[in-house]
């Protein structure tokens, strides 16, 4: 079962700690995660169901470059990190 880690910036609404989900693709993994945490959906996906432009996803250490690629395969041992793109200051 892949594991999803969501940025601590969403700690007010996201489950505490990593969450294991049953899924074979990134999109299915996120859907399974949102089943348990419905409020997080609109923070990660826009109203067209796409990954938000300034949300970054890493799968097993590799940045998801094509943000439309929600069909990307994930392995049972995959570690998925959902983060915000960094902003300057």
């Amino acid at each position: 079962m892949p594991t999803i880690h969501v940025t601590s910036h969403l700690r007010r609404i996201a489950p505490n700690g990593p969450t294991r989900v049953e899924a074979a693709t990134l999109g299915a993994a996120l859907d399974a995660y949102f089943e348990a945490a419905p409020r997080v959906r609109s923070y990660i996906l826009d109203d067209q169901g796409r990954l938000r432009k300034h949300v970054a996803v890493f799968i097993d250490g590799e940045l998801l470059v094509d943000k439309k690629d929600l069909g990307r395969r994930v392995a049972p041992e995959s570690e998925i990190y959902v983060m915000q793109a960094l902003s300057g200051g």
Binding site: H9, R39, D46, Q48, H54, K68, S87
Partner: protein, 355 residues
């Protein structure tokens, strides 16, 4: 009487109250989060705050207990589409309560430009106003200052709350007589010098930065347009030009439509006060003449910019406030003769609103 002023900023929502002759900050919420619009519904006392979290999108919250607690509401959404470039809703930039005869009705305007209604005090799903979304002219609209088109202003006719006026950057001024079912462009007389000559007067591409309707004389409107100041005295049959004065905000006296206030700036790529003099501007004769109001405003150089929702007037018509991108908040209690700073230390101000 306690006067109440809500200030939406890049880093939170602030409340200032005048009590014992002094304005004081009495409340803060959403600290650290960009608040793009605030509404206090006079019918229910509910508060609504629209946020734009940047990375995590636009959000809407409501408080039914004067800010003690907030709950997140469902956001309006644009029609689902398989098109990979289909627009998504990026910001709420207008929030208005329906009329006294429309209990429960809340309106929301957005980027990209769309209007939504909710008939349950913000609970549950929002309905897209399809009469506006499906206008053929929508394809001509374009963003001004943002990638998206922006529906930033909704005026509800105090005589008939089914009569709506909206302003879009850059998509002109539109009126509905039937609570949003159908729309007619009301940009006649507005012009855009910066457009190619044959599009200069195209009604559907005008950039009204803000429009206001006079409460007691609702046939009268003022518009701070990208190209200058315009007014209408004939219920939007036409607009008259009152001079090439750039700015964003405008306020009209609730009883006397000949009186209006502005905060001028240099246009386009500059967007700071002319000659570094941060002043307000007022007409008392329906736009024939304008006077600079500087008493109490900075005597030295100032480079503040006041955004389109960041100037407001209260129901008496005597008290006005504006907040700037530099975090200064000024108020006058005598129609602009004297101003004083409530604070110099806010985050950049998006909107001010008396309740």
């Amino acid at each position: 009487m306690t006067e109440d002023l809500f200030v939406s900023t890049r880093k939170g929502l602030f409340r200032f109250q005048r009590s014992g002759g002094k304005w004081q900050q009495t409340y803060v919420a959403f600290l650290g989060q960009p608040v793009t619009m605030f509404l206090a519904d006079p019918r229910t006392g509910h508060w609504y705050a629209a946020l734009n979290l940047g990375h995590f999108g636009a959000k809407l919250h409501r408080s039914t207990n004067q800010g003690a607690t907030w709950e997140e509401l469902a956001m309006p959404t644009l029609p689902k589409s398989e098109d990979k470039d289909a627009p998504s809703l990026n910001q709420i930039w207008a929030l208005e309560a329906g009329g006294a005869d429309q209990p429960g009705l809340i309106w929301a305007g957005s980027l990209p430009a769309a209007l939504f209604r909710n008939d349950r005090d913000g609970e549950g799903e929002w309905q897209l106003v399809e009469g506006l979304w499906n206008l053929p002219e929508r394809s001509k609209w374009f963003g001004g200052g943002t990638d998206d088109t922006a529906l930033h202003t909704l005026c509800i006719d105090p005589r008939n709350s089914s009569r709506l006026v909206i302003a879009i950057s850059c998509g002109g001024v539109w009126r509905s007589e039937d609570a949003g079912a159908s729309w007619t462009c009301r940009s006649k007389g507005l012009f855009a010098e910066y457009m190619p000559p044959d599009r200069r007067e195209d009604p559907a591409i005008q950039d009204p930065h803000r429009i206001v309707q006079c409460r007691d004389k609702p046939d009268h409107f003022w518009c701070q347009h990208h190209n200058g100041i315009f007014f209408s005295t004939d219920d939007l049959e036409s607009w008259q030009f009152a001079g090439p004065r750039f700015g964003f905000g405008v306020a009209v006296h609730p009883k006397d439509p000949a009186k209006a206030w502005f905060v001028p700036a240099i246009k386009d790529e500059v967007r700071v006060p002319q000659d570094g003099k941060f002043v307000a501007s007022r007409t008392r004769d329906g736009g024939k003449t304008f006077e600079a109001l500087s008493n109490g405003l900075p005597t030295g150089f100032g480079y503040d910019l006041v955004l389109r929702h960041a100037l407001d007037i209260d129901q008496t018509g005597d008290t006005l406030a504006f907040g700037s991108t530099t975090g200064n908040l000024y108020v006058t209690e005598d129609q602009g003769e004297h101003w004083h700073a409530i604070t110099h230390h806010l985050p950049p101000v998006h909107a001010v609103r008396f309740t």
